[in-house]
Symmetry: C2
Subunit: 379 residues, 2 copies
């Protein structure tokens, strides 16, 4: 019996379970507590944190998983060491994952590969910030090298003083900082690929990602007016990263599009919000593909099944009883995914996918359903 261990109990681990079930793969998940999102769906669960060696040994115990993978980047070295000791392949491995955990390491590596980033530099003082702002239009994006997600650890700065508290924290042992050019982009796009250890890489169509308040709100697949040239360039970038960084499993490359140019924003080495559309919208979902990749199985086809697929996130709203709204969903074709998470304002608690022929009409339908669920049916 093939078995995959997953670290992390959020919705990404949860959504791996249906793919594992179909393939006859047992999914054993290390969950933070028995009531997190993945606990309902996981085939086997171990309760504990990634830094808890006893829990990690239980996760990797006999019957031994064929591989261990992650639904987030916060994996301590001790976990990799235990996996090595027990002979369970870490996929992606420690070296690859570094570039998804540390934005300074990532930028340095991308520069070395000749891949396109926004202008950037490490900053340690207000003078560093002032120097950068003076040559990049007076505004920049300050980021913590580690620990950021969904708009956290990211701040727009227009004056050196805007950075002073984070600079002080960094000097005091907090996360190092970098500043990036504030790109005047046309749109944000994301390229998803998966790579198996044997070397095979497969790419889905490039998608457009629409952010609101620093959080992904909508994904349109394929990106509207996608040209073969843009798809080719996005694939070139993502394939080079996957191969050169020895990524195994899913890789999402979030990018800014400026005319025909692409600039790399973020990397994620796991299934990613920008790929949820693939569950219904592509021949192979990112969750199935991730499992196939970490098992070193041949990868699946990545073609889109409809002219347009739109994914809209459901963010927590004022009401906590949103699950009760499901039965009233006002669109029979909407595919609703709820994550079984407690509702907090702005928290991703589910998503909705709609497939269609036209971008605007499909976006409108997806947004209506997402709002309906958010508002407990009062939309």
């Amino acid at each position: 019996m093939t078995r995959v261990a997953v670290v992390g109990g959020g919705q990404l681990a949860r959504m791996m379970a249906p793919a594992a079930t179909a393939m006859g793969v047992t999914l054993r998940v290390l969950v933070e507590s028995a009531d997190v999102s993945a606990a309902l769906a996981a085939h086997e669960t171990v309760v504990g944190l990634p830094g808890d060696d006893e829990a990690v040994r239980a996760l990797l115990a006999e019957p031994r998983p064929d591989a261990v993978t992650w639904e987030h980047e916060h994996i301590p070295d001790s976990l990799f060491a235990i996996a090595d000791e027990l002979g369970v392949p870490s996929r992606p491995g420690r070296e690859a994952l570094l570039y998804a955990r540390d934005k300074i390491a990532m930028r340095e590596r991308l520069d070395a590969l000749g891949l396109p980033s926004p202008a950037w530099r490490v900053v340690e003082t207000e003078d560093d910030v002032a120097d950068f702002l003076s040559v990049h239009g007076g505004a920049g994006v300050l980021k913590t090298a580690r620990g950021g997600y969904d708009g956290k650890g990211v701040r727009i700065v227009r004056h050196p003083a805007d950075a002073s508290d984070w600079l002080a924290a960094a000097a005091d042992g907090g996360p190092r900082l970098l500043i990036e050019e504030k790109v005047a982009y046309d749109r944000e796009v994301a390229m998803q690929v998966a790579r198996r250890p044997q070397g095979e890489v497969r790419a889905w169509p490039l998608v457009e990602s629409i952010q609101r308040d620093g959080v992904c709100s909508e994904v349109i697949a394929p990106a509207p007016e996608l040209t073969p040239e843009l798809q080719h360039e996005a694939e070139r970038i993502a394939r080079l990263i996957a191969t050169e960084l020895d990524v195994t499993g899913a890789l999402a490359v979030e990018m800014f599009q400026v005319g025909g140019r692409l600039l790399i924003n973020e990397l994620a080495m796991r299934p990613h919000n920008s790929g949820h559309w693939t569950i219904e919208g592509a021949v192979t979902s990112q969750f199935e593909q991730h499992l196939r990749a970490v098992l070193d199985w041949p990868l699946g086809g990545t073609a889109a099944l409809a002219p347009v697929t739109v994914m809209a996130n459901v963010l927590g709203g004022a009401r906590e009883d949103l699950l009760g709204a499901w039965p009233g969903v006002p669109d029979a074709d909407a595919k609703v995914h709820l994550y079984g998470k407690g509702v907090r304002a702005g928290r991703k608690v589910g998503h909705v996918t709609l497939m269609g022929d036209a971008v605007d009409a499909t976006r409108k339908r997806a947004a209506e359903v997402a709002a309906w669920i958010r508002d407990g049916g009062d939309a």
Copy 2:
């Protein structure tokens, strides 16, 4: 938290789990033993048989399921009685399920509704059989009223003596018998619908079902050269059955097509092999639709996503290590579903779905992958 109880631990219960996970519905399954197909995927499991009142009470215990449903027809009256006592709706209910459990009751009811069956009669003696054969071309299909499936409880008879052992068993308290006309059909088709208690019925496209040795081997969706008239007639039949028999949940009507006419062969009031193609091939899968229907939620869209979807069953072959063949599956677009069941020759242990533009090419691809898996990669 919405919760559905399911009786039966086979692949039909197993494949309800991914749909339940996506909808945030907890699936609690009564499984025959801890190692059956559904046990891996079920969110909560109770081990026991449907006739074991203690197990049934555990299945329906607090937190109380919102409904109880079945993945097979062998539901004892005691189970319905306990569900009634505890206030858990049985969907479908005892009266509806009778017509899927007892072929004589079914034929009588279909006749009363004016729906098209092959010629048939109850038989108790060799003379009854002889009379039937003499007016229906010298051959008939003898069936046990109860307990048959996948070619079991069905026998072609050409002489009254062919029926003598079953007639003796029936006279001795075994299942009653009926004989049906051996229809010279053009092809076998299946119509799937789902109905919710509130009354809404939705139908998928009619499919062609190809049997080998009395077991479904392939399903082609939609049925090749499906005309609007044939779809309309198939829907009319299935909607009438669903409504008049008060079916809740999925209903499959297996039929013989003779020219433009349809004759009803079998009924199944649950997800059915002829609907597995809907997992990837339709907007809403039969498993999601069944759960929505038994919860009395609005039903989902049923449109097909590709010009052709072909489902091929994987039957057990000579080798028992077939799971190991998965990584070698020679078609990146094949969607492979393994049920986690022990391999026995002829047993359904999984299925493969392929979507495409042309019937013949898609059938060929599906058959090749199914054979590859069956033969452990030696095909």
